[in-house]
């Protein structure tokens, strides 16, 4: 991917790899990496600060990946809800190219022994990257399957030694209307804030993502650092993170504040609890063309076996 003079991301058609080709190539690469790591005497691939653009080193995490066919890179990178760059789904691909993702700092605060502002390189350095193919379900009742590259959020959070008072984690997106023109319009209260309960944040499925399709994450998908919580509606998976805060009380999150009767703090994918204005029972899996039928939405987006225990005894209609 190249940046043009206007700062817009310009993807040359030849740079778009068909999914099948990508995945056969990826299997080779992962194998080569694993071999290199074994030769180096480590069980994991050598971790080093990932590059700011281009290909990423990673291993494929088969266990946590779904077997469904991923959507194309083009679909995933041109159809985005990212109101910081405009409310149309094609706006982020048009306007996010100019976002400067280096240097990038993340401020860690709140109930932890170690706090402070950390350069992105230091955030990423100790964490070997994995590729995981996750289902992605938007609250608008469409879905995709996405090959993310990242590492478990919990591994990062542990480094800052959260105290017993840390009951929740709050995330914040960059606020910079000059770079994020959508923030000049008060459609949401900026900056975007999301949050997780501590046990959700520490769950091994919860990822911090830096890449897509084996390459550095496109800006419109939340570069340089975004969250992915695959059993929750997409709006929980905050993009362009600059702040992580351990809190004792439940964070006031953006969509839940904007329309509390429509978007909850938990926002777990749940076909039994409709959005007040539309049904959540089924979803349109994008990529199937005009005539692909809707598919049933699964509780917790199909990740129930791994995460349902987090919510045992909770009334999921009340805590939607």
């Amino acid at each position: 991917m190249r940046k043009t003079d206007t700062g817009q991301t310009d993807i040359h058609p030849s740079e778009i790899t068909p999914a099948e080709v990508y995945f056969s190539r990826r299997a080779l690469m992962a194998g080569a990496l694993g071999l290199a790591a074994a030769q180096a005497g480590g069980l994991r691939p050598a971790s080093a600060t990932p590059p700011a653009s281009g290909l990423l080193p990673f291993t494929f995490d088969r266990r946590d990946s779904v077997a469904e066919a991923p959507n194309t890179f083009e679909d995933i990178s041109t159809y985005n809800n990212y109101y910081e760059f405009g409310t149309d789904k094609s706006d982020p691909a048009k306007y996010a190219g100019g976002l400067r993702t280096r240097p990038w700092n993340v401020t860690i605060g709140g109930a932890a022994e170690i706090t402070g502002t950390v350069p992105l390189e230091d955030i990423l350095k100790p964490h070997p990257l994995q590729e995981r193919i996750y289902r992605f379900r938007c609250v608008e009742a469409w879905s995709m399957v996405v090959p993310w590259v990242g590492f478990p959020l919990g591994d990062l959070l542990r480094r800052f030694k959260p105290t017993a008072n840390a009951k929740y984690v709050e995330f914040k997106t960059l606020y910079d209307p000059a770079q994020m023109p959508g923030q000049k319009v008060p459609v949401l209260s900026w900056p975007y804030v999301e949050g997780l309960r501590m046990d959700e944040a520490m769950h091994p499925l919860t990822l911090l993502v830096v890449g897509l399709y084996g390459k550095v994450l496109p800006n419109q998908n939340g570069a340089p650092l975004r969250l992915i919580v695959p059993w929750k509606y997409g709006f929980k998976s905050i993009k362009a993170i600059v702040g992580i805060r351990f809190t004792e009380t439940q964070p006031a999150t953006t969509w839940a504040g904007a329309a509390p009767n429509e978007y909850g703090f938990y926002a777990n994918v749940n076909p039994a609890v409709d959005h007040p204005r539309w049904s959540q029972a089924t979803e349109r899996r994008l990529g199937g063309g005009l005539f692909a039928p809707r598919i049933p939405t699964l509780p917790f987006n199909g990740y129930g076996p791994q995460v349902a225990a987090l919510y045992r005894g909770m009334d999921l209609r009340k805590y939607f």
């Binding site: 041109t78 409310t87 904007a258 349109r284």
Partner: protein
Amino acid sequence: MLWLRRALKTVVFLVCLVPALRLAAGAAGLGGMSLGADPVAALLHGCGRWGLNFLMFTLCVTPLKDLSGSLWPLRFRRMLGLFAFFYLVLHLAVYILLDQSGRLGAVWQDIVKRPYITIGMLALLLMVPLAATSTARAMRRMGRRWTALHRLIYVIAILGVWHFWWQVKRDIREPVLYAAGLAVLLGYRMLKRRRQTARVSAARPAARDPTAATIVPSLASRCTDP
């Protein structure tokens, strides 16, 4: 003049078809055109938006006639109204056949449970009698009742904008724009009506102005408002 009128009508007709052809080309992937990652949503919203646009264009005809002082705009009113109906029927068809994959039970659930779909369906149902009575013959036969019936377009347009507004997640700028346009178009008619009734009641005490007595009703029957 007849050839000019016919030629103009053909041109307007073809122009009105352009949005549909563009959507169809995008859906078929002709000439490198595409509807993006979610073609069903693009078709659904494209048809809905153009249906609403044509409702607005139809409502522009009367003010245009008044401001220009020419009856020419009236010649296009039926065509514009029927295009609104055309795009909204397509909108419904995309919703039922593609978005809901023809599952009529789910569609019915939506209609009874989702207020924005209820009012959208109501708006389209109300358009059916208007489309059915859009012929010159129906107009002649129904006379005054035709005018009364076709005033339903005011209700339909309000329901249409409401339907749009209600399904937007957060960014209401576009529906607000439609609502503002509609407010101007309907406000214009209310002002005009008030002015006309004021004129009529002012003229009544004199009661001997034959032009006022004859011209006003004949205009009212020829250029009936919708």
